[in-house]
């Protein structure tokens, strides 16, 4: 990196000017230059190339990029962004959003000063004042932190520390969360537990012992070794893997077959050798038909099944439990399962990672107990799912189902790359169980070219027990879906105050938005720290302005992306009075009496963290900007599985149940996609909210370049569904159900399955003509999955009322809401 002193001084000076003038709005950049002689002069300059100071830093949202970037600064201003290849250059990456920070860093939605809702006080919270009409007044940082600390302390004294919730989102891939959790642990506050995109991983975990969100998968650099890639329910080239698109394209170029399973003909589907247009919610049926085919063709990997799965394990026919070695042998383990050796017919206890001449199929009697193998049980179970029968359920051609799985089973190593979308159906965990077992049948674990998720694992920073020190007495945790009941009804315990960082969830991204707003209104204090004036911030009582990433030094993890850590160097000092989350966290810690538990400077903190991770050298990371974490295995699943048997479970005798269905083997269970769902006639269309290439959750909504390409929220609808309702292409439509409504523009799109409509996620309230897409979604989760089911939603669609005001997208305002900024704090 360059010295950069000159431009830092300029920006500091300029920031002071802007602060003094208190200027906001689209033209505020004018105030960044104090006088005529500071005006950047362009006369006589033939080329600006090489005239810039270049700072290597990291783009840090919760996407699959974590892209190291070069920020070019000239005359005290960010002029452009370019990708910077990381230490391992094959992970060079960038996308349309990260390249556009030039606009984000100066956007008028940026928060400038700590603010307090004008009609809020600790004793009189006046909750009805929250919302779109709330007004804020500027306070000093000390005032803001005093108010927050005093209120938290008094709530702790009166109601217990758990009445305060520390809510952390995913909006910044630095290390703030670790200190946030540390403070929460020391205080004893309730901490947030994830309830989004955890469904599929839970199901996979039950089978393999690993997987939280999506399971681990081989790092992206290995994907070119795949011979078959089944991308399941993911527009991987738009929403998850676009920064690593070259890796999938290289696999295709190398001869891999690409199969895409999706109700939508996506960009990814357009690249596929075979597209399976499955109906929403029918994925488990399809996976079972694939298992059926593998049994029918006898293309299962016998050696793998014997060595690494419980396929040969015996199930007691009397109890349905697995026969345990302790039942058969005097010295047998209670967790060990038993197989039968072919030829001798004698029982043998199964060890992890150990092959043998075990019978995969058959019925046997051991010590007088009638048994059958787990694989026999599975084969019998999927006998009902012949492709021809499943074709009727799923809408997918039977022969294409066979072709897809035959490619995976017979063309060498490959994998299934499922998405988070599958987990956005209520019972999505069942799919996780199903495909984990299906890949066990094809033997696709632990080899080069295996794929288990639609993004790779990447590297994280190991910081030991920093977040939860051993002497702390941490409070309980609360999952996202539990928030409203806790805040409104005190179930399981009453939440009275929330401190939120890195999140636009409660005001924008959580389902059933009206109920979440009611939940916010039942709080005594809502503290929100953010970079921008989001919908969530508009509902806050105390607003803490956080600087743009280019103004916060940090170590960025490459989780879900690539096996590097990145050093996020500051490009410029924070503008206005924005301050790093760590400043507020440490400030509160001091007020609570834990100040000495937090290093004084962020740099010291980061150095401490790096010192806890054996793979990272702070100085190397700092100087190089990125460091590849060599301990991250490129190929996963090479060792014994962390299950009781050390093997993949092909049968689960301790399986959970829900709604009367037990998941000993994968059994389809649907909610709103079920053919007999009670309100299917009233709300005939399934409604999803696809991740698009134009957002990371709700981040980057304000980018004007991007808004020229993608100006407003739309409803993707098949022309047949639209015409049946008298809806023209481009007409505004009302989308509604029994929770709420939104008004958006209809977009005829033949890519969408009839019966399925979509609005891309990530739009803010200000972008909608009426309502919001989260007014339509619900917060019902399955007992096993505990994951918000955003796509398991039904709606009806009709032409918008004539009197609906669509001026914001009229000809006078061609760039939509980009031309009308939300008033920012401090204006």
């Amino acid at each position: 990196m360059t010295d950069g002193k000159a431009y830092r001084r300029d920006v500091l000076k300029a920031g002071g000017a802007a602060a003094a003038l208190g200027v906001g709005g689209g033209g505020f950049l004018q105030t960044l230059v104090e006088s005529e002689e500071d005006q950047p002069s362009t006369s006589g300059i033939e080329s600006f190339v090489g005239q810039n100071d270049v700072v290597q830093t990291v783009c840090s949202p919760n996407c699959r990029g974590k892209c190291p970037i070069d920020v070019h600064v000239r005359d005290g201003q960010v002029k452009k962004i370019e990708p910077h290849p990381p230490e391992d250059e094959q992970y060079k990456r960038a996308c349309v959003l990260g390249l556009s920070h030039t606009q984000r860093v100066y956007d008028p939605t940026r928060l400038k000063y700590p603010m307090k809702r004008a009609d809020w006080s600790p004793d009189k919270p006046n909750p009805q004042g929250r919302g779109p009409d709330a007004e804020f007044e500027r306070v000093s940082w000390d005032e803001a932190l005093d108010l927050v600390a005093d209120k938290m302390q008094s709530l702790k004294a009166d109601h217990g520390a758990e009445s305060v919730l520390f809510h952390e989102g995913s909006g910044n891939y630095g290390q703030s969360g670790k200190s946030f959790k540390r403070l929460a642990s020391l205080f004893g506050a309730t901490q947030s537990a994830w309830g989004i995109d955890t469904n599929v991983g839970r199901g996979f975990n039950r089978v393999t012992g690993v997987g939280a969100f999506l399971p681990p998968t081989n790092e992206a650099e290995d994907w070119e070794n795949a011979n078959t890639i089944i991308v399941w329910g993911s527009d991987i080239l738009s929403s998850q893997f676009q920064m690593d698109a070259s890796k999938i394209l290289d696999a295709i170029e190398n001869g891999a077959k690409l199969v895409v399973v999706d109700p939508v003909y996506t960009t990814t589907a357009s690249k596929a050798d075979l597209w399976l247009p499955v109906e929403p919610g029918k994925d488990v049926h399809l996976a079972l038909a694939m298992m059926h085919t593998v049994f029918e063709d006898e293309t299962y990997d016998e050696d793998f099944l014997r060595k690494r799965t419980t396929a040969p394990a015996l199930i007691r026919k009397d109890t349905g439990e697995l026969l345990k070695a302790s039942d058969v042998f005097e010295d047998g383990g209670e967790n060990q399962v038993v197989a039968v050796e072919r030829g001798s017919g004698s029982p043998v206890a199964l060890e992890p990672e150990t092959g043998g001449a075990y019978a995969l199929f058959g019925e046997f009697t051991v010590d007088g107990v009638a048994c059958e193998t787990a694989l026999t049980r599975l084969r019998d179970h999927v006998a009902d799912y012949a492709p021809e029968k499943v074709a009727e359920t799923t809408g997918v051609d039977a022969e294409n189902i066979r072709t897809a799985i035959r490619w995976l089973a017979t063309r060498g190593p490959g994998g299934i790359a499922p998405s988070y979308a599958l987990g956005r159906y209520k019972h999505g965990h069942i799919f996780g169980q199903a495909y984990a077992m299906l890949m066990g049948m094809t033997g696709d674990y632990g080899r080069h070219g295996n794929i288990h998720a639609h993004h790779s694992g990447g590297a994280t920073l190991a910081a030991g027990d920093w977040a939860s020190p051993s002497d702390a007495d941490p409070g309980p945790s609360l999952t996202f879906p539990e928030y409203p009941d806790a805040m409104i009804d005190g179930d399981p315990h009453k939440i009275r105050a929330v401190y939120s960082i890195e999140s636009n969830m409660m005001g924008n991204q959580f389902p059933d938005r009206q109920r979440f707003r009611e939940a916010i209104r039942s709080l005594e204090m809502y503290v929100v720290a953010d970079m921008h004036h989001t919908d969530t911030v508009q509902h806050a009582d105390i607003i803490l302005p956080v600087p743009h990433w280019f103004e916060q030094e940090d170590i960025c993890s490459g989780w879900g992306s690539h096996p590097h850590l990145g050093y996020r160097h500051k490009v410029q000092e924070p503008m206005w009075e924005a301050k790093d989350d760590y400043y507020a966290i440490r400030g509160l810690a001091e007020r609570f009496g834990y100040g000495d538990r937090f290093p004084e400077t962020k740099r010291d903190l980061l150095r401490k963290f790096a010192g806890r991770d054996d793979d990272i050298d702070f100085d190397t990371l700092f100087e190089q900007g990125t460091q590849k974490k060599e301990s991250v295995p490129i190929v996963k699943y090479t060792d014994a599985f962390p299950t009781e048997t050390g093997r993949i479970k092909m049968y689960d005798d301790e399986a959970p149940s829900e709604e009367g269905v037990t998941f000993d083997v994968p059994r389809p269970l649907e909610d709103r996609t079920a053919d007999d769902y009670e309100k299917a006639d009233e709300y005939p269309l399934m409604f999803m909210q696809k991740h698009s290439r134009f957002r990371i959750h709700s981040q980057y909504e304000m980018l004007n370049w991007v808004r020229e390409i993608n100006p407003e929220p739309q409803l993707d609808i098949h022309p047949k569904d639209a015409k049946a309702r008298g809806i023209d292409d481009g007409e505004y439509v009302r989308v509604y159900n029994d929770r709420g409504e939104m008004v958006v523009k209809a977009k005829y799109n033949d890519a969408f399955q009839p019966g399925l409509v979509n609005t891309d996620q990530g739009w803010w309230s200000r972008d909608f003509v009426e309502g919001h897409l989260q007014d339509l979604t619900h917060n019902e989760v399955s007992e096993v999955g505990q994951t918000m089911a955003f796509y398991d939603v039904r709606v009806a669609v009709e032409s918008a009322p004539d009197d609906v005001d669509t001026d914001k997208y009229g000809s006078d305002n061609p760039r939509g809401s980009g031309a009308k900024a939300t008033p920012t704090g401090g204006d």
Binding site: S47, Q77, K80, P83, P85, N254, T394, N704
Partner: protein
């Protein structure tokens, strides 16, 4: 001689718009204008396919591809011919450029360009941030502007911004006069088209479709000619699938890049032609 050319592999292009936006950023292109648009070959609107959703559960007839489209830097450029003041000219290295000081805003060139690649500053150009971005001085009101192949970068030995910033490695820049360059090799080995070949403009921009190429070989922002190890390709052709080899996958749509009806597909969000 050097003749700069661009190869765009449409089999690799994922329509992500990184090239469109990084072009605006690098070249300080005014709000409302695009020098480089990512067009959808398919339905009438961006990101929509042609054909119908399969009713029988098969793969059906849906088809979609992306066609990034900017100035094609024609060998026989009609815009150069019609310019009454010689403001548009062809450099010795094949890049078609505009001398904005000479441009009188008559817009004959826009009428002559069959690729809809030029835009006109009807109003005082606006930039966000207002002081502009990138490495090129803003153009005034009343002139026509367009893609320059980032000549200001090329002169410094750097690839155009759109090429460096493509996450799919779908854009390859190089010297068409050098037989050993990656662009020359790809044009030789893959099925490539120039847009509207029948117009006789002979563009220096080529589009690959059918069989996918390995894409841009270098991670560096430098032009291939600036690198010691020119490219992995210079070691031999082992990695280059031949035309005869089995299709490596990536459904060959068979659709032509010669844009049907003699028109560049209309792109809804981008202001085409600059007269709106």
């Amino acid at each position: 001689m050097t003749k700069h050319g661009l190869v765009i592999d449409q089999e690799r292009c994922i329509g992500c718009q990184a090239c469109a936006v990084s072009c605006k950023q690098e070249n300080n292109v005014p709000m409302g204008q695009f020098w480089n648009r990512v067009l959808t070959e398919g339905g009438e609107k961006m990101d929509t396919p042609s054909g119908g959703y399969p009713e029988d559960g098969g793969s059906g007839s849906l088809d979609m591809q992306y066609q990034p489209t900017a100035c094609q830097h024609c060998e026989n450029a009609p815009c150069v011919k019609v310019c009454p003041v010689n403001a548009t000219y062809t450099r010795d290295d094949g890049i078609v450029e505009i001398d904005y000081d000479k441009c009188i805003g008559c817009r004959y060139c826009m009428a002559a360009c069959p690729y809809n690649a030029r835009v006109f500053n009807w109003d005082e150009p606006e930039h966000m941030p207002e002081e502009g971005t990138g490495d090129v001085e803003a153009r005034p009101q009343g002139v026509v502007e367009k893609c320059t192949f980032c000549s200001h970068r090329v002169d410094e030995g750097l690839d155009p911004a759109c090429v460096v910033n493509c996450p799919a490695d779908a854009r390859i820049f190089g010297d068409l006069d050098d037989e050993s360059s990656t662009v020359s090799k790809y044009i030789d080995k893959y099925e490539t088209d120039q847009l509207l070949e029948d117009r006789g403009t002979d563009p220096n921009t080529y589009y690959i479709s059918g069989e996918m190429s390995p894409g841009r070989p270098q991670t560096s922002d430098k032009m291939e000619s600036e690198l010691d190890d020119v490219s992995p390709w210079s070691d031999g052709d082992d990695d280059v699938p031949s035309k005869e080899a089995d299709s490596a996958g990536g459904e060959s749509s068979g659709s032509s890049h010669s844009v049907e009806g003699g028109e560049i597909p209309y792109a809804t969000p981008a202001k085409s032609g600059g007269d709106d």
